[in-house]
Each structure stands twice: as structure tokens, then as C-alpha cells.
Symmetry: C2
């Protein structure tokens, strides 16, 4: 009987494709075995368990998304970079909803620390460099951007904005514009102190 040529990598990629087709939740070891036309138990030579499959898909998606965002941001700064980054994010989620969902899987701290997740926050920080925020604020901004991008995209994917005007892309543009303005404001508090007016100089 000819061998199927299974490897962890091929299984991961096929799992990612399956996720895009049927949803990340529906990715099971059984479904993957059917896709390769082998018996389920065979996959356990290549994967420790079902959790490892999901984790591998998540890591793969994080990497792919980071590559894409990295390409998008290359050579840009300020609002241009922000918009490109945001667009890479949204585009990936729309093209690969299953992989995007996978990228949101909760990883245990060590795995996360060794994953492309760190590239994501590094990129966010790089973009913020163009806005010249003082340090506690920069971290707040990293978290806010992570939150908005993830949150908005996830609401859009859930179909929350279907069947209602204006369409999701217009809102996305408006939000990116607004965030840019917000960050510029935070950077240069020349005449509108929005926090405690203490320690001004």
C-alpha cells in the first residue's frame, strides 16, 4: 500500500486550508485523516494530539499574517504604515477566516513567547515610532491598536455589519483615520492637555 507522505508540515497546511473551508472549530484529526484518505490513528505518528494540531495551525497563521503585515509596512511610516498594517490584517482575516480564527487561539505563555506573536507587537511598536509617544502611552497604544484591529475584524467576520449601511470597508477607513488623528494628538499635546494638568514642565 502506497504511503501518503504525511508530515507535521503538510498536516498543518492542510489543517489551515480546512479551517478556511469549514471553520477552525471544525478542524479535527478525523476530518484531516479523511482529507488525506488515511486512517485516523496514522496521524498520531506525526501529531502528539488534537491540541498540537490546533496549536501548529495557530503558529502557522501567526507567521503568515506577520509576513504579510511586514511586507505591507515595509518602506512606509506614520499614517501610511498604520493604514497598510490595518489593511493587511483585515485582508488576511477576510481571505483566510479560518486561519485568522486560529491565530486567535490562546497559546500558553512559552509557546506565545516563541511565536510570531512577538513580531506582531514589534511591528505595532515600529509603526508607533512615527507618532513619537512617551513611554507609558506607547504601551497603551500598542494595546489599543491590538484591541481595535482584532475586535473590529472579528465583529466584521461575525457578519455583524452585513446588511447595513455604510459598508464595513468605509467604517474601517474611518477608524484608521481616526486612530491616526488620535495618535497624533497624543504625541504633541501642544495646547490641549487631555490628562491631569500636573507636571507640565
Amino acid at each position: 500500500m502506497a504511503r501518503a507522505g504525511l508530515t507535521p508540515e503538510r498536516l498543518t497546511l492542510a489543517g489551515a486550508e480546512l479551517a478556511d473551508e469549514v471553520g477552525f472549530e471544525q478542524v479535527t484529526v478525523s476530518a484531516l485523516a479523511r482529507r488525506f484518505d488515511v486512517k485516523v490513528a496514522s496521524l498520531y505518528s506525526h501529531l502528539k494530539n488534537s491540541q498540537e494540531l490546533k496549536t501548529r495551525i495557530a503558529l502557522f497563521a501567526l507567521e503568515e499574517l506577520a509576513d504579510r503585515a511586514s511586507d505591507a509596512v515595509a518602506g512606509r511610516a506614520g499614517k501610511d504604515a498604520l493604514a497598510a498594517f490595518a489593511e493587511a490584517y483585515r485582508g488576511y482575516a477576510r481571505e483566510h477566516p479560518g486561519r485568522y480564527a486560529a491565530a486567535r487561539l490562546r497559546l500558553d505563555p512559552e509557546t506565545a513567547a516563541a511565536s510570531a506573536a512577538v513580531r506582531h507587537s514589534q511591528m505595532t511598536r515600529a509603526i508607533l515610532r512615527g507618532y513619537d509617544l512617551p513611554e507609558p502611552d506607547q504601551t497603551h497604544a500598542v494595546r489599543m491598536l491590538g484591541g481595535v484591529f482584532h475586535g473590529y475584524v472579528s465583529l466584521e467576520l461575525a457578519g455583524s455589519f452585513d446588511h447595513s449601511a455604510p459598508d464595513a470597508r468605509e467604517s474601517w477607513t474611518w477608524i484608521v483615520d481616526s486612530l491616526d488623528a488620535l495618535l497624533r494628538n497624543r504625541a504633541a499635546p501642544h495646547n490641549r492637555p487631555s490628562r491631569k494638568p500636573r507636571s507640565t514642565g
Copy 2:
């Protein structure tokens, strides 16, 4: 043999409690049956299937969260209202992570339309009234707020901000402040037009 007194309502509440204890993903009909010390099949007299259980928990959580947000916002306006709303959201997610996760379950359109989800967007719109945004912008803002709140809270719950300064609550305050400023800017473009300087009057 004494009866357990199962009802859809009691099952839903117990399911919500279970979700907070072990995570919404881990809420199964079997686990719930064990909790009531009855056989699994017994639950199927009260629930159509596993999906219905999850949907009921989701609807319950949406309602509970809407009540809480509604109380928090009552009698407030402008930034006060925004901050109270945000705090209600974040507090609920922290106290009831399982229920919060349930509230994020994707509902089919009809179910969603008949759920407390509509109260959520109504409240958001009510808060935005204090900022006096023109119409396409108001919808964009509703979506942005939904996105930020959901996204940030979900990152915080995932533990993304653990073990790093500043703590999550500081960032939350900063974000709410920033959003308030952003919305005020969008409302009154008196001398800083951040969009196309066309159709100014």
C-alpha cells in the same frame, strides 16, 4: 426516584456558571448532566441539542451584560457615560469570563435580531448622542467602539497583558480617555479638519 427539577432556565443558568468555572468551550451537555447528577439523555427533554444550550447561555449573558451596562449608564452622559459603559463591559468580562465568551457566540441573524444584542447597539448610539456626530460617522463610531471594547477585553482575558507593565486597567483608562477625545474631535471640526477639507459648510 426523586426528580431533579430540570428546566431550560435552570440548565441555562447552571451552564453559565459552568462556563465561568471551566470556560465556555468546555460546557457540554454531559458536563451539565453530571452537575445535576442526572443521566445525559434527560437533558434532551429540555434542550433540543447542544447548540441550543450554547445559544441560551449566550442570550442569557447578553441580557445580563445589557442590564449591567444599562444600570451603569443611567443618568450619565458624554464621557461619564462612555467610561461607565466601558467599565461595565470590562468588569463583566473579568467577573464572568465564561459568560462573556458566550456573549460572543455567533448567533444566526434572526436570533441576534431578537436578542439583547440590539440593546447593546442602542446603548452605544445613546452614548454617542452626547458627541453629536453626523450620521455616517455615528455608525462608524458604533462599530469602532464595539470593536475596541470587545477586542481589548478579549486580549486582556487571554492574558496578553499579564506580566507586563503598565497594568491592564491603566491602559483601559487611557484608551477610554483617548476615545473620548477622538469622538469630541470628530464632532466639532472647528479648526482642525482631519478629513478631506471639502464641503466644509
